[in-house]
Symmetry: C2
Subunit: 375 residues, 2 copies
């Protein structure tokens, strides 16, 4: 039984999963067996969680119980709120604050089901609470009445959101709820595989998500559209970037070799949101024109590479249309992905084992100790 | 390029490392090229850190600078102390409290070198602070004068430790400072591979270490010696366990197929400590007799398996002799292993890439969305 050397694990299958099927060559994404575009725009986030965790959509009674159990776990312990206040006073970055807040939660004596609901509920509350504190606003205490996504918007904005805003954010969170064994999801699985707890696993996943190599940060794509300002400037702006060998943010994907299916789902959700009167429709129209020019130029500069719009491009537009600043983008991604992290942890606990790879020793052999005064 | 299916990664080499060489068949452990038994009993913990992080022992001037830079990072932010107070008032488990405390630290705007020193220094302070708070004692503020291990003992006990106590604990921390790609170390590497920060990586590693499948919890071995009480009860007690197919805690190891080299290092350190007048020498003598009986019976019940004393057995005795309660055992292990976690993170940053394995999809194909009122 000889070992395979694979430092990035690109050639290693580290789990069997029923959670998502990422078909990069075909540009297809299935979430728990449903084509992403057939479920993300229709399900509530609670339905999506139930589907990921229990492998089926809930009936009405199950959904009601599930939603209630989630809603009553929204409130944060005082110690967590105090920690967020202190972090805000020191202007800690939102992803660090999210890691601090999640890790401060108590995991003792709770079942996996209870921990799962608590972590998902409180992730949204921590993100909203910290966002307000960082902007010198008092937190809006969680309300048990509405669904998870309404509650998140209420805690962020202090008012009841429109149905269009809820639907757009719900579609986004569903779309990014799971995506194979990315680095944060894998970090969570390595941690839970020791039979640790969900707080520890999700805290580790947040720590991985904040790394710049993780991917999924949509801010730069939006910056590019803002920089371009008007449609006539798109071609010279993008040509200059490509002439200098720079990447166009929001285009191309490590896994998808054709168009990222999530781009279409979010493109459509963004179009609806702007058409409903939210946000600045001129910006949306500009972004659509920039996208067309970018795709044409990418085909010209990188023929055969088939670089297409990825999930980040329309994520940035959608969240911007909701009025979210860029600092909220990655934390909001975490509010959706935490559903998948927990689903993977549950799967790992049910079907997995300890994850402990080997290493090749490349250091020196048999050195001899020399006491300090002889060095 | 076909993928290899290896869910526990037992057959996968996930990194090259110069940090430790675990030779399970030969029962040898090299730490940065030094046989563990030739360095762990002699080096200070600061020398061990310098060796792991920079691949060489420091000269006197370097050691002085390194020690000073470590010492001046011992103090915890107020927010972390408040979080520990709140956790203690809720009787949170020490490993959860350590995860909370570490994650509450700020990683913004600091270099890897500064973060590394800060995390190692503050891990000891968090462990000592929380231990005292949990036992209704006020924390002992860190002192910048002594070495790391003296400081840890002072913060735990409120008094200057004897040289024998410092040496014994230093030998223990050095011995467990690194041990290949165990699950916590690997969790840290997966997180830092996204180019996240050391706080996030070490927090994730602590989350993995607390899992019961991680191994390294020495409490049960000590419980067994206590249960046996007197040497004449060892054989009937152990025979009953073996007759019922139970494992003997403190014996056998997943990797070492002969005697765990760390058992000898810690056995010798423990012997010296008891002989110096620390602890209860009768307990030490009992433990030595229990070990002899256990090895004889394991050979009788499991012939050919060659089950030998592992690191946990003498860890338990050594820490017990120092007066540490079982609740401090795993946190103290973390105080040593954090040196290796950080060394691996540094190595991953220098030589590694994003760690992102594949998964096999085993779920359903192409399900069809059914709205709630039709379910």
């Amino acid at each position: 039984m000889s070992a395979v050397v694979d430092p990035g694990l690109e050639r290693t299958i580290a789990a069997e999963t029923r959670l998502s099927d990422v078909q990069g060559q075909e540009g297809k994404l299935f979430l728990a067996g449903y084509p992403a575009e057939e479920i993300a725009p229709y399900a509530t986030f609670e339905e999506m969680l139930h589907l990921l965790w229990f492998d089926r959509l809930p009936d009405r009674a199950e959904l009601e119980t599930f939603s209630k159990n989630l809603a009553r776990r929204r409130e944060l312990p005082d110690a967590t709120i105090e920690l967020m206040r202190s972090a805000a006073s020191r202007q800690i970055q939102p992803m660090d604050a999210l890691r601090m807040g999640l890790s401060s939660l108590d995991s003792s004596d709770r079942s996996v089901d209870e921990q799962a609901l608590s972590v998902v509920a409180k992730t949204a509350t921590i993100v909203a609470t910290y966002h307000r504190l960082l902007n010198a606003q008092e937190p809006v205490p969680p309300n048990q009445e509405p669904g998870h996504v309404s509650a998140l918007l209420m805690m962020l904005e202090g008012k009841t959101p429109t149905a269009e805003r809820v639907r757009a954010l719900e579609t986004y969170l569903n779309t990014v709820s799971d995506h194979g064994l990315n680095a944060s999801t894998f970090a969570g699985r390595v941690i839970i595989a020791t039979h640790s707890d969900l707080i520890s696993a999700v805290t580790g996943a947040v720590g991985a998500l904040k790394g710049p190599l993780h991917g999924g940060a949509p801010g730069p794509a939006l910056d590019m559209v803002f920089d371009i300002e008007t449609a006539d400037r798109a071609e010279p702006y993008l040509r200059e970037k490509l002439d200098h060998g720079e990447r166009l943010m929001g285009f191309g994907h490590r896994v998808y070799k054709v168009r990222d299916p999530r781009a279409d789902i979010l493109g459509e959700a963004t179009r609806r949101l702007y058409r409903s009167g939210e946000g600045d429709e001129d910006l949306y129209n500009l972004a659509v024109e920039v996208e067309a020019v970018a795709l044409r130029l990418l085909d010209e500069y990188k023929p055969g590479r088939n670089l297409q719009t990825n999930v980040e491009y329309y994520t940035a537009l959608l969240l911007h249309c909701l009025g979210f600043p860029v600092s909220l983008f990655t934390p909001t991604f975490a509010v959706g992905r935490v559903g998948g992290w927990i689903a993977h942890c549950r799967e790992q606990l049910e079907t997995g084992r300890l994850i402990r790879p080997g290493a090749t020793y490349t250091g020196q052999d048999d050195r001899t100790w020399i006491p300090l005064d002889q060095r």
